[in-house]
């Protein structure tokens, strides 16, 4: 049998979602006590953990310090058991380096770094289970963690992936859909202003379709925002009650 039917005639995807629907998102903030901020997120079966330290003094060589803003340092890693095939992934392999850089770009755009000159913010993200959309899950987890740490940001950074199958754009791809080999686009959005923090795609897609895919990804990112917003409010409410006692 060649090729799985990613989108049925009735408009259902393999896992029963419609084209624009997200997977179920569950998130928690403040999962670790020793870190400044931390968060855990589940998007369907993709699970990610983010920890934030800082802002603090520059560690290591002082020469890296920036005179006018904070240095954002991101590290990505994925657990050996995160994928179907068990595999040791040492720190500093290409994939995690790239992911770390992307995260850094994303958060440099979102964090108000000029408020903390000559200091450093560390964001560590670990993927516990990868079922498609790891970048998006990392960004969303990191956003929550940064908020938990109380670092001022312009806005939420909400990320979502989107793909293109049978001239229809699909939001929030799962691993099966990613593996099918169609074009995939990752978008990190500042939902309030609609500004794009990061847009990444490394497949060929006709420019006529780009707008459609982008639109789908942006809408999905806004949906993510609603969910994250609810999580943050819930967390704040709980924290307020604890503090009040």
């Amino acid at each position: 049998m060649a090729g799985l039917e990613l989108l049925s005639d009735q408009g259902y995807r393999v896992d029963g979602r419609r084209a624009g629907e997200l997977r179920k998102i569950q998130a928690r903030m403040g999962v670790f006590a020793q870190a400044d901020g931390s968060a855990y997120i589940e998007q369907g079966n993709t699970k990610a953990l983010a920890v934030v330290y800082g802002p603090h003094e520059i560690r290591g060589s002082r020469s890296r310090a920036l005179p006018d803003r904070a240095l954002v340092n991101c590290q990505y890693s994925s657990a050996t058991f995160s994928t179907g095939e068990r595999k040791r992934r040492p720190h500093g392999d290409r994939k995690s380096c790239e992911m770390g850089l992307q995260l850094r770009q994303t958060f440099e755009a979102a964090i108000l770094t000029q408020l903390h000159p000559r200091s450093q913010i560390d964001i560590y993200v670990q993927v516990l289970q990868a079922d498609g959309g790891t970048y998006a899950a990392c960004v969303n987890a990191a956003t929550l963690a940064v908020m938990d740490a109380g670092i001022p940001m312009r806005d939420f950074v909400c990320a979502c992936s989107a793909g293109f199958v049978d001239s229809t754009a699909l939001a929030d791809l799962s691993h099966v859909e990613e593996a099918a080999g169609g074009p995939q686009l990752a978008l990190a959005l500042l939902p309030a202003s609609g500004q794009i923090a990061l847009l990444e795609m490394d497949a060929r897609l006709h420019e006529d379709h780009l707008e459609q895919v982008l639109e789908t990804a942006a809408r999905a990112a806004r949906d993510v925002h609603t969910v994250l917003d609810r999580v943050v409010r819930q967390h704040v409410r709980e924290a307020a009650i604890l503090l009040g006692d």
Binding site: M1, A2, S8, D9, Q10, Y12, G16, S167, D208
Partner: protein, 911 residues
């Protein structure tokens, strides 16, 4: 049910699954897929160790129960399965949800559907046979084909070559070609596997009684002979063989085991008696996969009403939205006499600035037919109106095709118009406007009348109903107005035509090309059109409209416009034409369409007008067929239309009878709203879907052409059938030799429009010889074939030579066949032209006879039916005897054809 669908996908493979999907998609079947695995209450997780099938059955049953409760226990639900265990387990678990086998289901719920019962029986039987056969192990007749995975891998890696098999229609048992995909040419090869089978329904004939007896003991299995020569005999297991003897029957092939010489099939339904007109027509339809069931109630419900009590009116909203041309423009239509579906009308007027405005108004069918409505789906399936020799099968229901969409005279109609502003003297196009309009056609003219008016001959006036009730004065004024318009139109058309001729537009003889040009596929076509200038005028305006619309939709939607291309022909196909022309001393230059057109014009023998006609029809056959395509899947250079010499062309002007035109209308409407920056309401087809649709329409058009041709042949045969060729004068006619073969010649009979082969060597190896009185006889001897002549040398006689374009006298007779369509047989009885005092007269009315022929056959069939009703069984018995005595088997027939080794070129130009 989603689970069931998935089961089909996994167990039966992609092909079956796609079939099922298409059935589901078709709105006519009223089927809905319920995604039960995605439904909260219906989803059941698979238990550990539970087999797939069990889980599927459980899921389906669970969903059925849920649905039953969902409908508040009011509607009983039936689950059909062949799994005995499931029936046992769930059969009585829930009240109101029945789990039964299919046979049981039919028996209980549809006891009256006899056809379905028979179908079910025959499927069950053939399945049982298969099972029992699997247990016995026969010696294999054929080496097994490779499994699909091996094939796919092999094709990808290049160790196998993929191709399409075409079996020669005339020498089905020994000749076939494989058209390869990819250029690499191989000398010889072997079929290792089949990627896709092109099975359809086949019409077959059961063997007559004697043959059944000779087949002997295996009475349950019958070998039936398909109507199509190219299909081998099919083995069927049925008990009804005796009863079905005299009928044409539809069967379907189920499988072809490697252990068997013949494929296995099952019986589907009866079409009609052999030799009966209705039965034979039904045969032609099935063989071309044309299904023309009457329009269903659901489809008719979508149609607007126009009855005397409730007349249809222009709605005020539409009136606001459309441009109103009722008062301002003189619109009229020119069509064949008695035409009901008028889909084009014309107008011309002088504007205030002195320029001319030419308008082409086309019936607005898409206003009435919403995309994806039931009617739309039906029209898409039919794709075109089918014109057979004596009847037609409409694409749209008559309320649209003959009434609301037909631009009749004197009534308000919606139209889609294209209007050009032309310079008053140079006729140069300055501006063009597209849009929806309301028109009221003032005159519904027919071609002959329009021509008379153009020639200034006003005696025809009495035949135009619009002029009848007018007083003399207003009549004169209106007449002048109309005559001016027709005259102007003709001038414009002449001018445009000249432009196109300059680029090398072809004018070709032959019905096919005619049809393409002016879209009159009517039965009137069989009447030779006196080449009136009005025909050309109308055709030219239509071509102009098509051309401009093609440009417009291509500019607006460069990736998803439906256009029509006519690829330039291969030069080698012209070889025969050049040779033939050389025999007559003409030189045909086929390098480009322009030179071809010019040299065809020159190749005219003043003594014999048929020569030019034949040459033109040969040129037509050498060309490839014009095709629809989607612009997204074709390079822009390939858009060219060779025959019309236009860079872009589409079909826009006949939405009543062609589905492609409806698509083009929708595209044009979307293009207009795009120009106005409005949102495009309709979902346009994507390039992929459009390409798929084009393939379907092309396919259907081909089927329409074949069925039309086959039905004409059927009528020709029926016409000559009851005539005794030895006594009836009409069976002897004048023929022209237009091609030479190794053992005979191909002859064209202008009087009946028949083309066929006449053999110079018969089955016994005797050759033709002509005595002094030029009467022919069969004598032993030899044949010698040269480039453009063939000589028959009988031993002890004078040799006879036949040249190309020689006139000969032929006798027409019918070769009656039991299992196939009858064929016309031609016999040369003299090598001199056929002399008859009224030959000239005959030639003039040549094709007129053809339409008479149709009438006569229809009448005689009706009479025969009447007679049959009276005489009843007596005739039937006679008929049976008659049939049996003729029961020539397929083999003798094929042998004959093989011996004769003659091909009719008119039939295989598609290869």
């Amino acid at each position: 049910m989603q689970t069931a669908c998935q089961a089909v996908q996994h167990q039966r493979g992609r092909r079956q699954y796609n079939k099922l999907r298409n059935l589901l998609k078709d709105a006519r079947h009223d089927c809905i897929l319920f995604a039960n695995e995605f439904q909260q209450h219906c989803y059941l997780p698979r238990e550990g160790g539970e087999p797939m099938e069990k889980w599927q059955t459980r899921s389906i049953y669970n969903a059925a129960v849920w649905y039953y409760h969902h409908c508040q226990d009011r509607m009983p639900v039936v689950m059909v399965t062949e799994d005995e265990e499931a029936i046992q387990q769930y059969g009585s678990e829930t009240e109101g949800v029945f789990v039964i086998s299919f046979k049981n289901y039919l028996d209980n719920f549809w006891p009256d559907l006899k056809a379905a019962h028979e179908l079910c029986d025959s499927i069950l039987q053939s399945r049982r046979e298969k099972e029992s056969e699997n247990q016995e192990s026969h010696g294999k007749e054929y080496p097994e084909h490779l499994p699909a995975e091996v094939l796919e891998a092999g094709v990808k890696s290049g160790c196998y070559v993929q191709g399409i098999l075409n079996v020669n229609k005339h020498r089905a048992q020994i000749e076939a070609f494989v058209r390869l995909q990819g250029a690499s040419c191989k000398d010889s090869g072997r079929v290792v596997g089949i990627l896709q089978k092109n099975w359809r329904d086949y019409v077959v004939t059961f063997p007559s009684k004697e043959e059944v007896q000779s087949q002997g003991k295996n009475a349950q299995k019958v070998l039936v002979t398909p109507w199509d020569y190219r299909i081998p005999k099919i083995r069927i297991s049925t008990q009804q063989a005796g009863a079905l003897q005299d009928f044409r029957v539809v069967v379907r092939i189920d499988s072809w085991e490697s252990t068997s010489v013949y494929p296995n099939g099952h019986f589907v339904r009866v079409l009609g008696r052999i030799g009966d007109l209705e039965g034979e027509i039904a045969t032609i339809l099935v063989e071309n996969s044309i299904s023309v069931v009457p329009f269903s109630e659901a489809q008719m419900c979508e149609m607007p009403v126009n009855s005397p009590e409730k007349p249809w009116k222009v709605s005020p909203e539409e009136e606001k939205r459309r441009k109103d041309l009722r008062k301002t423009h003189l619109v009229f239509s020119i069509d064949p006499k008695g035409c009901e579906d008028v889909d084009d009308a014309l107008s011309v007027r002088t504007l205030h600035n002195g320029n001319l405005e030419l308008g082409v108004h086309i019936a607005d069918v898409t206003h009435f037919v919403a995309p994806n409505s039931y009617i739309d789906v039906e029209a898409r399936t039919r794709a075109t109106t089918y014109y057979l020799a004596d009847r037609r099968y409409d694409m749209l229901p008559p309320v649209l095709s003959a009434d609301l969409c037909s631009l009749l005279g004197g009534v308000d109609r919606y139209a889609v118009s294209v209007m050009w502003e032309l310079n008053k003297t140079s006729y140069e196009i300055k501006q063009v406007w597209y849009g929806r309009t309301i028109i009221r056609s003032a005159y519904k003219l027919f071609y002959e009348a329009a021509q008379e008016l153009l020639d200034g001959n006003f005696s025809i006036l009495d035949e135009i109903p619009e002029f009848k009730d007018l007083d003399e004065k207003s009549r004169q004024a209106r007449l002048e107005e109309l005559v001016w318009a027709i005259g102007k139109l003709t001038n414009i058309a002449r001018h445009i035509r000249a432009q196109r001729d300059g680029c090398g537009a072809l004018e070709l003889e032959g019905v096919e090309v005619r049809v393409e040009l002016d879209e009159r596929k009517n039965i009137h076509d069989l009447i030779p059109r006196q080449p009136l200038e009005v025909h050309e005028t109308v055709a030219e305006c239509m071509i102009l409209a098509n051309h401009w619309v093609a440009k417009k939709i291509w500019e607006s939607f460069p990736h998803q416009a439906l256009l029509r291309q006519h690829p330039p022909p291969h030069q080698e196909f012209f070889a025969e034409l050049r040779e033939c022309a050389k025999a007559k001393g003409f030189d045909i230059d086929t390098r480009s369409n322009k030179t071809l057109a010019d040299s065809l014009d020159k190749a005219d023998d003043p003594n014999d007008p048929i020569v030019n006609k034949l040459l033109r029809s040969m040129a037509t056959q050498a060309m490839s067929n014009a095709l629809y395509f989607s612009t997204g899947s074709c390079a822009e250079e390939d858009f060219h239309h060779y025959g019309l010499a236009l860079d872009k062309y589409t079909h826009f002007t006949s939405p009543i009878r062609r589905y492609s035109d409806m698509i083009v209308h929708r595209l044009l409407m979307a293009a207009i709203s795009k120009d106005r920056k409005e949102e495009i309401k309709e979902n346009l087809l994507s390039n992929k879907d459009l390409e798929e649709l084009c393939r379907h329409i092309n396919n259907r058009n081909r089927a329409a052409q074949h069925s039309q041709k086959q039905s004409t042949e059927l009528f020709q045969c029926m016409y000559f059938k009851d005539k005794d060729p030895d006594t009836e004068a009409r069976c002897i006619a004048d023929g022209v030799i237009y091609s030479i073969r190794t053992n005979g010649v191909l002859v064209f009979i202008p009087r009946f429009g028949i083309k066929g082969a006449a053999y110079l060597k018969n089955k016994d190896g005797l050759v033709i010889s002509c005595g002094l009185d030029s009467r022919s006889e069969w004598k032993p001897g030899s044949l010698q074939r040269c480039q453009n002549k063939i000589t028959s040398t009988p031993t002890g006689g004078d040799p006879v030579t036949f040249h190309l374009f020689d006139h000969v006298t032929v006798r027409i007779s019918v070769q009656a066949l039991r299992c196939h369509s009858d064929t016309i047989r031609l016999e040369i009885i003299s090598n001199k032209p056929y002399k008859m005092s009224s030959t000239e007269l005959c030639r003039q009315s040549s094709l007129l006879l053809k339409s008479e022929l149709v009438k006569e056959v229809t009448r005689s069939v009706e009479e025969a039916q009447l007679a049959q009703e009276i005489k009843g069984k007596v005739i039937e018995e006679e008929y049976q005897e008659y049939c049996q005595s003729k029961g020539g088997s397929l083999y003798t027939l094929l042998e004959k054809i093989r011996d004769l080794a003659l091909l009719d070129v008119s039939n295989n130009y598609g290869i």
